[in-house]
C-alpha cells in the first residue's frame, strides 16, 4: 500500500484538480469507452483514490460511483508507474478477500494504468475489469493503449485545471500543449491501430461529431461533424433498420450494440460494428449518443472462411459425385470470398478447351455455361497444366491476362481464381471463382483458396479412385462368373456319359454356392460379409428361409472365410433338405452364432440345430459334404456333431480374428 507521505501528496494533487464529486464529463466518458473497447472488458473506470474511498470520475459497466478504500484494487496500482495486471483476482493474495471479488459483482480480472500528475504523483488509475479471469492478461497493443489513455486522462485533468485557473495557463501553456499534442497523437494512434473510430451525436439537432478514423470507416471525407443520418445512403437496404435513427435516439430505444453492412464508394461491402451509450439529463431524456465504430469486415470474413472450410469438409465427405463436389466447393468459395460467379468445367487439355457446367452466380450475373478456349482469355492455362492454382486479383494488370483483358471484362471477370484438378496425371477439371471488382488478396484469402483447392483435389482424387475400383470390381466379378459358368459347362459335357446324375447335380450346386459367396462379397467390395447375409442367402436359394430361425450378433468375416463358410452352409442346407428336418413339410432349423472366450482372442461359436425332421442316424459313408462339414468353419476342425432327438445338432468354433483376416 501507499505510505502516509504519498497519501498526503496524492490528496494535495487531487485537491488542486478540484475534480472530486463533480458531474460526469464526456471527455472522460469517452476514455473509459475506448479502454473497455480496446481491452474488450465490460467494465472500465477512471478511479481517483482518496484516504477512505475511491471515487469514479467516469465509469462504464459499473453501478456504484464510489467504493470504500478497502474494496479498491486500484489502490494497489499507485505504488508503481507501471501497469498493474492481476489475471485472477480470486487467486491473488492482495485481492482474494476483497468484497467485490468474494461477493457480487464477483470481479476476476483487473488491469490498471496509474494516473500520474506532471509532478509525479499517482492520484488514481484508469482501469479495466472483467468478470472472468484472464490468464493471458492484456496483449501489447492493449497495454500500450491503456497507458496512453491514462496519460490522456491526466492531460484532461490538467486542461481542466488550466482553464479554471487562468493565471496558471500562461505559465504552463507551452509545455502542456506540446505534451497534449504528443499524448493525443499517441492516443489517436492507439485508436487507429485498433481501427476504432468514435462519434458523439447530439440527439436534439441530429449533428454528429466523428473522429478521423470514424470518417475513414464510413469512407467519408475527414471532417469533424456530419448530420447523423449521413450514413443511411451507404447502408445496405436490408440492414437499414439496424443503426439508430432520429426517433430511436429521441426516445432512447436505439440498440446499443449492432453490426451492419455499408457500400463503399468503390462498391465493396464492409461490415461495421457500432457500440454506443446514451447520456441522459436529470429527467432521463436522451441528450447525446456516444460510441465507437469499428470495421469488422476482416473478422467476419475470417469467420466466413472458417465456416466454409468446415462445410466443405462435410460436403466432400458426404458426396460420391465428382461434379457435385466441384460445384459445392466453387459455391462455398464464392460465398466466403464475396465473389460474383463460381463453378467448374471439364477440361480437354489437348484442345485447350473447357466445357463449363452450371455455375453459381450473384444476382444479375450472366452464366458462362458452354465451351470456352483457354487461350481466348490469356496464358494462365500453362500454370494450370503444372497443377498450380491461378489467382489473378485484377485481369487488367496481371501479365497472364492483360493482353486479353477486354474479353474477360466483357463477361464480368475482373478477378479470376482457377483451381486445376487432375485425374491419372491428366488435367481434366477446373474449379473457378470470378468477381467483377478488382481486389488485393490478403494472405488469409490466398491460404483459404489454396486450402479449398487442396481439399477438393484430394477428395476428387479419392472419388475417381473409388469409381475406378468399382468398375474394376464389376468387371472382375462378371468375368469370374463367366469362368464359373464355363467350368460348369465343361463338367456337364465331360460327365455327359455318366448315368448317375446325382454327383453332377451336387457339383453344379456347389459351384453356385461359390458363385453366391462371390455375389455377397462383391456387394461389399471384397471387404467381407456378414454371417447373417451368408446364412440368409443360402437358405433363400433353396427356398427354406421361412423355415429357419436365424439369429446372432452382426459379425463380419473376411473374404477368404466367406468363401469357405458359404460352401459349408451349402452342405448343411443340402443335407437338411435331403435327409434332415427340411426334407419334410414341417421341420425347422435354428441357426445361431455368438462370441465368447477371452477379449484378446475371442471365439466365434456357430450352431445348426434341426428339429421336426425324420429320426437321424450317423451316416455310414463319408461323402465330400460331410467331410467339408467336419473340417469346420476354417478347415481346422473344432466341430461337434450330435445325432440325437430332436434333430442333428452341429456346433462349430473358430478364432474370430482368423475368420476376419483379409487374406
Amino acid at each position: 500500500m501507499t505510505s502516509e507521505r504519498d497519501d498526503t501528496r496524492r490528496l494535495e494533487a487531487l485537491a488542486l484538480y478540484e475534480i472530486m464529486d463533480t458531474p460526469p464529463e464526456p471527455e472522460f466518458d469517452d476514455i473509459v469507452l475506448l479502454a473497455s473497447e480496446i481491452c474488450q472488458t465490460p467494465v472500465s473506470l477512471v478511479s481517483l483514490v482518496e484516504t477512505e474511498r475511491q471515487w469514479f470520475k467516469a465509469r462504464i459497466g459499473f453501478e456504484q460511483c464510489e467504493t470504500p478504500i478497502g474494496q479498491s484494487v486500484c489502490a494497489h496500482s499507485l505504488t508503481s508507474s507501471d501497469l498493474l495486471v492481476i489475471p485472477d483476482l480470486s487467486a491473488d493474495v492482495r485481492t482474494r478477500d476483497n468484497r467485490l471479488v468474494t461477493h457480487d459483482p464477483f470481479i476476476r480480472f483487473y488491469a490498471g494504468a496509474p494516473l500520474i500528475s506532471p509532478e509525479g504523483v499517482a492520484i488514481g488509475t484508469l482501469c479495466v475489469i472483467d468478470k472472468v479471469a484472464r490468464p493471458d492478461g492484456l496483449n501489447d497493443t492493449q497495454r500500450r493503449s491503456l497507458a496512453a489513455l491514462a496519460r490522456q486522462v491526466v492531460v484532461l485533468l490538467e486542461m481542466r485545471r488550466i482553464s479554471s485557473r487562468k493565471d496558471d495557463l500562461f505559465r504552463r501553456q507551452k509545455r502542456i500543449s506540446s505534451e497534449v499534442r504528443a499524448i493525443a497523437a499517441s492516443s489517436i494512434a492507439a485508436q487507429e491501430a485498433g481501427g476504432i473510430g468514435t462519434f458523439d451525436i447530439d440527439v436534439a439537432s441530429g449533428r454528429m461529431k466523428i473522429s478521423a478514423e470514424g470518417c475513414r470507416i464510413f469512407h467519408l471525407p475527414i471532417q469533424d461533424e456530419y448530420p447523423a443520418n449521413v450514413i443511411y445512403d451507404f447502408i445496405l437496404p436490408q440492414d437499414r433498420h439496424l443503426p439508430s435513427a432520429d426517433r430511436t435516439r429521441m426516445d432512447g430505444t436505439a440498440s446499443l450494440e449492432t453490426e451492419y453492412r455499408i457500400h463503399t464508394p468503390q462498391g465493396a461491402i464492409r461490415w461495421i460494428s457500432r457500440r454506443a451509450s446514451f447520456h441522459r439529463d436529470a429527467e432521463g431524456r436522451a441528450m447525446r449518443m456516444v460510441g465507437t465504430l469499428k470495421d469488422v469486415t476482416e473478422e467476419r470474413n475470417a469467420h466466413a472462411r472458417m465456416q466454409a472450410l468446415i462445410r466443405l469438409g462435410d460436403v466432400l465427405r458426404d458426396t460420391d459425385d465428382v461434379q457435385q463436389a466441384a460445384f459445392d466447393a466453387a459455391e462455398l468459395m464464392a460465398e466466403a470470398l464475396g465473389a460474383t460467379r463460381a463453378g467448374f468445367g471439364m477440361v480437354d487439355p489437348v484442345a485447350e478447351t473447357v466445357l463449363m457446367h452450371r455455375d453459381w452466380r450473384a444476382p444479375g450475373v450472366a452464366t458462362l455455361e458452354g465451351l470456352h478456349h483457354f487461350r481466348d482469355y490469356g496464358s494462365f492455362i500453362e500454370d494450370l497444366r503444372r497443377g498450380e492454382t491461378v489467382l489473378i486479383g485484377d485481369v487488367t494488370t496481371d501479365p497472364r491476362t492483360r493482353d486479353q483483358f477486354q474479353t474477360l471484362l466483357d463477361i464480368g471477370i475482373r478477378v479470376l481464381v482457377n483451381v486445376p484438378v487432375f485425374d491419372k496425371g491428366q488435367f481434366n477439371l477446373v474449379v473457378f471463382v470470378h468477381s467483377n471488382e478488382p481486389r488485393q488478396w490478403s494472405d488469409a484469402e490466398l491460404d483459404f483458396i489454396r486450402s479449398v483447392g487442396d481439399r477438393l483435389q484430394s477428395a476428387i482424387g479419392r472419388l475417381l479412385a473409388e469409381m475406378d475400383q468399382d468398375i474394376l470390381n464389376r468387371e472382375l466379378s462378371h468375368r469370374l462368373k463367366n469362368t464359373l459358368s464355363i467350368v460348369q459347362a465343361i463338367a456337364t459335357q465331360t460327365l455327359r456319359a455318366v448315368q448317375n446324375r446325382g454327383p453332377i447335380e451336387s457339383f453344379e450346386k456347389r459351384l453356385q454356392a461359390l458363385s453366391s459367396a462371390h455375389d455377397v462379397l462383391i456387394h461389399r467390395n471384397w471387404t467381407g460379409a456378414s454371417i447373417k447375409d451368408l446364412v440368409s442367402d443360402t437358405l433363400d436359394r433353396i427356398g427354406m428361409l421361412e423355415r429357419a430361425d436365424v439369429s446372432g450378433p452382426a459379425i463380419f468375416i473376411g473374404p477368404k472365410a466367406t468363401q469357405s463358410v458359404m460352401l459349408l452352409l451349402h452342405e448343411l442346407a443340402t443335407n437338411a433338405v435331403k435327409y434332415g428336418s427340411l426334407s419334410n413339410e414341417t421341420g425347422k432349423v435354428a441357426v445361431k452364432w455368438d462370441i465368447s472366450g477371452p477379449a484378446d482372442n475371442p471365439q466365434l461359436s456357430f450352431s445348426w440345430q434341426e428339429a421336426g425332421g425324420p429320426p437321424v442316424t450317423e451316416p455310414t459313408q463319408r461323402g465330400f459334404g460331410s467331410r467339408l462339414i467336419r473340417m469346420g468353419l476354417l478347415g481346422t476342425g473344432d466341430v461337434d456333431i450330435r445325432y440325437d432327438a430332436p434333430g442333428i445338432m452341429i456346433v462349430m468354433r473358430a478364432s474370430l480374428s482368423h475368420l476376419q483376416e483379409a487374406g
Partner: protein
C-alpha cells in the same frame, strides 16, 4: 392346331456367344424335352426368328458382341413376336440393373440347371403349344 404339330417338340432358340456355354445350354434344352436352335449373336437370332414360326422360347445371354445385346434382342422379340417367352442370363451381379422385359425371366450365371429346366417346361405348357 395341325396334326403335324401335335407330335413336334416345342422349339427353344438358344443365343450365346461363348461356344462352350452355348453347347451346355443346348444340351440342357434338349434334355428338358425341347428341340434346340442355336445362334451366336442377336443378329443371327433375328434371322432365325424371321424364318421360323415354331419357336416358343428365346433363351439368351445378355452380354454379347454385335449390333445388339441380349436386352435389345429381348425387346425386339417382345415387339415383333409377342407370344414368344423370354429367358435372360448374365454374369452381372445386380439383377436390378437388368431391365427384364415384361414376362421375361432372369437367371444369374452360373445358373441352376434344374430350376431352368422347370421354367422352360412351365413356359412351354402355359403357352398353349
Amino acid at each position: 392346331m395341325g396334326q403335324s404339330q401335335m407330335f413336334a417338340k416345342p422349339t427353344v432358340l438358344v443365343v450365346e456367344d461363348e461356344p462352350l456355354l452355348r453347347m451346355m445350354a443346348v444340351d440342357l434344352v434338349e434334355d428338358a424335352g425341347f428341340e434346340a436352335l442355336e445362334a451366336a449373336n442377336a443378329d443371327e437370332a433375328i434371322k432365325i426368328l424371321e424364318c421360323r414360326s415354331d419357336i416358343c422360347v428365346v433363351f439368351t445371354d445378355i452380354d454379347m458382341p454385335g449390333s445388339m445385346d441380349g436386352l435389345l434382342l429381348a425387346a425386339a422379340v417382345r415387339d415383333r413376336w409377342p407370344p414368344i417367352e423370354i429367358i435372360l442370363t448374365s454374369g452381372h451381379v445386380h439383377i436390378s440393373e437388368v431391365e427384364v422385359p415384361h414376362g421375361g425371366v432372369f437367371f444369374s450365371k452360373p445358373y441352376d440347371h434344374s430350376a431352368l429346366t422347370r421354367t422352360l417346361q412351365s413356359m412351354a405348357s402355359g403357352s398353349g403349344h
